[in-house]
Amino acid sequence: MEPASRLDHNHELSIKDFPYIVRWRDDRCKRCGRCTAVCPMLSIEPAVVVKRVVQSEGLTPEPKAVRYTTTMVKQTTNIERYCIGCGTCTLVCPNEAIEPEYNPRHKFNFHKNKGGHPYRRGGRRNDPMPSTLDRLRFTRISMLTDPALDAGRHEFRIRTYLGRILPAEELPVIMVNGKLEVDKTSGKFIPPVREIYPVMIGSMSIGALSPTMWEGLAMGITYLNEVEGMPVVMCSGEGGMPHRLLKSRFLKYFIPQIASGYFGWDEIVRALPHMIEDPCAIEIKYGQGAKPGDGGLLMAHKVLKLISEIRGVPMGVDLPSPPTHQTQYSIEESVAKMIQSMSMAWGFRVPVYPKISGTRTAKAVLNNLVRNPYAAGLSIDGEDGGTGAAYNVSMDTMGHPIASNIRDCYHDLVAQGKQNELPLIASGGIGKKGNLAANAAALFMLGASAVSIGKYIMQAAAGCFGDEMNRCNVCNLGKCPRGITTQDPKLYRRLDPDVVAERVVEVYKSLDIELKKIFAPMGRSTELPIGMSDGIGTDDHAIAERLHISYVC
C-alpha cells in the first residue's frame, strides 16, 4: 500500500502558494523548449504526462475515452525554484503560449526560509503603492502675473553643485580698483566644488552589475558629458573600478565609492600615481536605504575572474562588507579619519561626502558634517532604494522614506543658515512609478541639491524586470535573465552595452526635457529651484503638514 504522504502530497506546496502561476496553453505550444531553456530559476520544465480525452469519431456520437502520452510545460512546486514572474519565457515564446500571472493570494513569505535561511533577494521594498513623492504636485503656475517660460525655447540651467560651498562671508576676496579679486595670500582653503547634472547615477558596483551593464552605463554617461554637454556623473558602488578607467581621462565623470569592505581600494590606491584626472568626487558609504544596518553583499557565485581582479580578492568567495566601518568608533572619528584622509589622498582637490541610509538620526549626522570643513555633502538613501542582495526583512521593513528625511535635514540647514553650504543628495525610490522628472523636481523643491537613481536606470536602460510585486528580484543569485546583475557570461552576453548606453542617453535627454516642462511653467530656469517649497502641494493633509507644503484639493 502506498504511504498516505505520497498520495496526498500533504507537505508539498501547491501552485497557489506561489507568487506567480505560469499560464501555459497546450493548444498554442509547439514544444520548442525555448521557455524551459531560458527560465533562470528552472521553475518550468518539460514533463511527460498521460492524458485522457473523451472523443467521438463516427457519424453518430460514439464517445469513448482515449489515453495518450504527451509533453507539456510544467511549473515546479519546489520553492527553491519558484517562478519569479520575470516573463523571460513569454519573451522567447514564438506562439504566446506561456505567461506568468501574479497570484495575489500567495503564501510565499511563509515558506521561503528553507534550511533556516531567511529570504534574501535583490530589488527594492515590495510596496507597489505610490510613494509620497508621487503624491506631490507642482501647483505654482506662472501665467499673467509672472509669465511662464518656454521649455522649448528658453535657456535652462539644470545644474547643481557637488562639494562644500563656502559662505560668501568666508570667501577670500578683496577689492582691487573697484573689482573683487581672490586673495591668493590669504591661505584660505577653498573646497573643490563640481558643477554636475542634478540627477546622478547612484552607486551600483561592478560585481553587483554585470560587466556589460556597468560598461553600458559608463559609456552612456561619457557620451552625455562629451557629446551632449550634460555633466551626468555616476558612482562606482563598492568594489573598485576597471584599471583602464582609473587611468583614463574619463575618471572625472565617476565617483569611486569606498565602503566598509574597502573592496577595490588597494587597486585604486595603486592607480593613484597614474591618474591623469581627478575623479568627480569620493563617496563614503555608511549605509544603504534598501538594507539599513547591513554592509554590501556579493555572493560567491558572482565573484568571477574580472571581479576578483578589480576587488583584489580570490574568486568564488562570498564578499560581505561589515555593517559599519570597522576602524571607526564614533561619528567624529569617522569624519576625521575617512573624509579627511580621502581628501588628502587627492590633495584636497576632490569633494568627499558620506552616504547614509535614511534614518531618524540623519540630522545628527548632518550636524556633524556641517561642522567639518572637508565634508562635501550628505547623500541620504531612502527606504525605497534598491540593492543587489539583502534580507527581505531589511528591504521591506527597515529604513526611512526619503521625502521627510530630506525635508527635515534641509530645514535643519536653513535654521543654521547653511542650506547652500552642504549639498543634500536624495535617493531611494526616485522614479519608482516611472515619474523620474517629477520625483526629482519635487525633491529639489523639498531641499535636495541633487538626486541619485539606481533601480530606475536599470529598468529604463536595460529593461530590468524587477518591480514592487516581487517580480524577478533575483539579482542576488546571479541569475538575472536580462544580464544586468549577473557575472555569468551566458546571461550577461544577452545585454548589449551599446544598447544600454543608448538608452541611458535617451533617458537623460528626455528627463532634461521633462524637467524643463516642470520648471518652465513655474517660472524657474536660471538656477535649480532648491527649497522652492511654495511650488509643490499635495492632496494629503498629513503629508502637507509634515513637509510644510500646501494642501490642495
Binding site: R140, S142, T145, D146, P147, L149, H154, E155, R157, Y161, I165, L166, P167, A168, E169, L171, V173, M175, G178, K179, L180, E181, V182, I190, V193, E195, V414, A415, Q416, G417, K418, Q419, N420, M522, G523, R524, S525, T526, E527, P529, I530, G531, M532, S533, D534, G535
Partner: protein, 369 residues
C-alpha cells in the same frame, strides 16, 4: 504690474513729480497702495540731515506707546512732521501719519555710524513688533535723511489726501510706486519701496524664487532681514546684504541676482571671483520677471532687470535730472526736454547706474564685468 517712478536730481523737487509720472502710466485699477521714499531731504528737513527720522503711521494709543518707548531708549524728539491730510473719498484716514526727527540717545552721540545704524534698526523692529498685532504702530523707516510715506489708495488721490501739492516736502531722490490690483490682502508693510540701512528699492513683477531667497536671508542672522509681506522686499535686502554686509561693489549685485553662465563668466577679467560668488550665493538668484530700481547710501541710483522675462523699464533725462521709470511715458512727464534717443531700456546684462547728484548715467554690462 506695479508702476515705478524714481527721480534723481541735483536739485530738490517735490514728490508730485513722481506721482504725476505714475499717473501717466496708469492702466486699470490702481488702488492697492502707494509708497514714497524720499532721500536727501530738503525743506524743513534740510537742516536735520544727521538726525534719524522715524517714518510711519500710528493710532492715538500707538503714539503714546511709541513716545514712551522712544523716551525709554533715550531718543529725544527734535522735530515732528505730519502731512496736512484732507478727506478724500475712498481713502480711509488713519490717526497719525508722521516723520519724527530725533536726537540720538546721549550714549550713542559719539558712536560710529555702524553702531548707530544698528540701534536705529533694532528700534524700528521693536516698534514694529509693539504695534503689529493691533496695527497701532506701523513704521517704515528710521534713518537719517530718509522719509517714507505709504497708504492704500490711488496715487493721485493719495497725493491730494496727504496735501502734497501744497507741502514744501522736497528731496533730491524719490522712489514712488503704485501698486496694482493683484494684492487684494493689503498690508502696508507689503508696499514698496522698501528701505534698510541706507538702501532703498522697488520692483515690479513677481519673484518666483521668493521662498528660497527669503529662507536664505532670514537665516543670515541679521535682525533686519524679516517681514517679507511682499516677495519684492528681498530685492532690497539682497542689495543690503551684497553691498553692506559683504562689502562688494554695487555691480556685483547684478552678478548675485542674475548670475552668468560659466561660459560667460570665463570671459570676465574677474572670472574666478564671479564663479565663487555664483556658487556661494546661489540661493539669491532671482528668476524674475523683475525690474529693480534702487538707491544706495551715497545717492547712486540704478535699474536692473532679471535675466529672461524683463519687465518694462526705461531710464532717461538730462545731466542733473534723471528718471528711472517702468514706462517711457513716465520719463516724458518728468524730463520732457531730453534727447529721447538717449533713453536706455536695460536688457538682461545691463545695469544702468546714475551717479550721485544725477551727474552721469552709465550702463554697466555684466558680460564685460
Amino acid at each position: 504690474m506695479c508702476r515705478l517712478a524714481a527721480i534723481t536730481s541735483n536739485e530738490y523737487f517735490s514728490p508730485i513729480e513722481n506721482i504725476a509720472a505714475l499717473e501717466t502710466m496708469k492702466e486699470g485699477h490702481d488702488g492697492s497702495g502707494m509708497g514714497l521714499v524720499l532721500k536727501t531731504l530738503g525743506g524743513e528737513f534740510e537742516e536735520l540731515k544727521d538726525h534719524p527720522i522715524l517714518s510711519g503711521i500710528c493710532s492715538k494709543n500707538g503714539l503714546h506707546t511709541l513716545d514712551e518707548y522712544m523716551n525709554k531708549l533715550g531718543f529725544k524728539l527734535k522735530y515732528a512732521w505730519t502731512p496736512r491730510t484732507k478727506p478724500v473719498k475712498g481713502i480711509v484716514p488713519r490717526d497719525y501719519y508722521f516723520a519724527r526727527v530725533y536726537d540720538y540717545p546721549d550714549v550713542y552721540k559719539d558712536r560710529p555710524l555702524e553702531e548707530k545704524e544698528d540701534l536705529l534698526l533694532k528700534t524700528r523692529l521693536a516698534l514694529r513688533k509693539l504695534g503689529e498685532t493691533d496695527e497701532s504702530i506701523i513704521v517704515f523707516s528710521f534713518y537719517p535723511d530718509i522719509l517714507t510715506l505709504k497708504e492704500v489708495g490711488d496715487p493721485l488721490e493719495l497725493c491730494e489726501f496727504f496735501g502734497l501739492e501744497k507741502s514744501p516736502l522736497k528731496a533730491k531722490i524719490i522712489l514712488a510706486q503704485g501698486r496694482q490690483n493683484t494684492n487684494y490682502a493689503i498690508n502696508l508693510y507689503a508696499c514698496h519701496p522698501f528701505f534698510i540701512q541706507g538702501y532703498g528699492s522697488m520692483t515690479n513683477g513677481e519673484n518666483t524664487a521668493f521662498v528660497p531667497i527669503r529662507e536664505f536671508l532670514m537665516s543670515r542672522g541679521f535682525p533686519g532681514y524679516l517681514g517679507y509681506n511682499s516677495d519684492s522686499e528681498v530685492f532690497c535686502h539682497i542689495l543690503h546684504y551684497t553691498c553692506k554686509k559683504l562689502g562688494y561693489p554695487l555691480t556685483y549685485y547684478k552678478d548675485v541676482i542674475t548670475p552668468l553662465k560659466q561660459s560667460e563668466i570665463d570671459k570676465r577679467t574677474d572670472s574666478e571671483v564671479a564663479r565663487l560668488l555664483k556658487v556661494s550665493l546661489r540661493p539669491l538668484c532671482i528668476d524674475g520677471p523683475n525690474c529693480v530700481i534702487a538707491f544706495t547710501p551715497d545717492g547712486t541710483c540704478f535699474m536692473v532687470q532679471d535675466a529672461k522675462k524683463l519687465r518694462p523699464g526705461a531710464v532717461g533725462g538730462v545731466k542733473g535730472k534723471y528718471g528711472l521709470m517702468s514706462e517711457e511715458c513716465g520719463l516724458d512727464s518728468v524730463v520732457p526736454a531730453r534727447d529721447k534717443s538717449q533713453d536706455i531700456f536695460p536688457m538682461k546684462f545691463d545695469m544702468v547706474i546714475i551717479k550721485p547728484g544725477a551727474e552721469e548715467v552709465t550702463v554697466w554690462n555684466q558680460l564685460h564685468g
